[in-house]
């Protein structure tokens, strides 16, 4: 049943994106183009989504557990770190260049749209590059510090 819910949620999510106009890059870029012929539609998508989910989240959060899983998998971290800004900026530049963010890119790519297929494929490659960098970094952090005068207080801190 959990898998049926996941499938239906994905389906409705994609239909919502299309209905909201987010699978048309021209509309997304029209929203980001404040100095041009500004199209505020995307703000209405965000407002509708946040209004419904803010309510939905509060109702669901009263439960001890989800309907078809043992527990909720919600983010618990509250600290701010530079990565949030750096990653957001890289993503925002790619978003502004193409008019596609991940959800619409995957939705439109599945429909056979060539630009979206290119964006989605490059996006997967970008994610794999990040995973490779992350794996390399955590291997480096896990490795024992080399012996010598640097070991100890001057050794680079494992993040």
């Amino acid at each position: 049943m959990a898998l049926v819910v996941a499938y239906v949620a994905g389906l409705l999510f994609a239909l919502g994106l299309a209905l909201g106009g987010m699978t048309q890059p021209a509309k997304v870029l029209g929203f980001l183009d404040v100095a041009g012929a500004w199209d505020p539609s995307l703000a209405f998508v965000m407002a509708g989504a946040v209004a419904v989910h803010a309510l939905g989240y509060r109702l669901v959060a009263r439960r001890r557990s989800p309907l078809f899983a043992a527990s909720f998998a919600l983010p618990t971290r509250t600290d701010l770190e530079p990565r949030l800004v750096g990653g957001g900026v890289l993503f925002g530049v790619g978003w502004g260049l193409s008019g596609y963010c991940p959800g619409p890119a995957l939705t439109a790519a599945s429909s056979g749209s060539l630009p979206a297929i290119v964006v989605a494929a490059a996006m997967l490659l970008g994610m794999l590059l990040f995973a490779a960098r992350d794996a390399a970094r955590s291997r480096g952090a896990a490795a024992p510090a080399p012996p010598g005068p640097l070991a100890g207080r001057d050794a680079p801190a494992a993040r």
Binding site: M1, A6, Y7, A9, G10, L11, F13, A14, G16, L17, A18, L19, G20, Q24, A26, A35, W38, D39, S41, F44, V45, M46, A49, V50, H53, G56, Y57, V60, S65, P66, L67, F72, L74, P75, L80, R83, L84, V85, G86, G87, G88, L90, G92, V93, G94, W95, G96, L97, C101, G103, L106, T107, S111, P115, V118, A122, L125, G126, M127, A131
Partner: protein
């Protein structure tokens, strides 16, 4: 009169997105963040794969349904050169993983929870998006 402005359809589409995110939380206890769901499939953990695959299958089914029922919703009016789509996709993929999320995970789910981290990430990618389009269209004068 703003050309192409679709307040009602966009509000309804947004509400449907919010409903889908709430459904995934209620049923499976998961956050509907697209980049996170895909990223988790690229670095798979045992027991944490099937729901991601089914969610993405649902997204793909939605894309196919839209192609069959309302192909206009997939129009690409401002076609860019291919290399630009490649560069943009790489930035979107790497950036969303570095920044822990995208428009859905941070922008919808995180903002709905008033998560400080998501508010910072959302402000960052929105600002970068505004600045990028401004530079491309009004400084470089490339796109229409």
């Amino acid at each position: 009169m703003i050309e192409g402005f679709t307040p009602l359809a966009s509000l309804a589409g947004g509400a449907l997105i919010g409903f889908a995110a709430s459904l995934l939380l209620l049923g499976d206890g998961k956050v509907a963040g697209i980049s996170g769901i895909v990223g988790g499939l690229l670095s798979p953990q045992r027991g944490d794969v099937a729901w991601r695959a089914l969610f993405l299958l649902g997204v793909a089914s939605g894309g196919i349904a839209v192609r069959l029922l309302a192909p206009g919703a997939l129009a690409v009016e401002v076609a860019q050169p291919l290399w630009l789509y490649v560069l943009a996709g790489l930035l979107v993929g790497y950036g969303t993983r570095l920044g822990y999320g995208c428009t859905s995970g941070h922008g919808v789910c995180g903002v709905s929870r008033l998560s400080k981290r998501s508010l910072v990430a959302t402000a960052s990618f929105m600002t970068a998006g505004f600045v990028t389009v401004y530079v491309v269209r009004h400084v470089l004068g490339v796109a229409p």
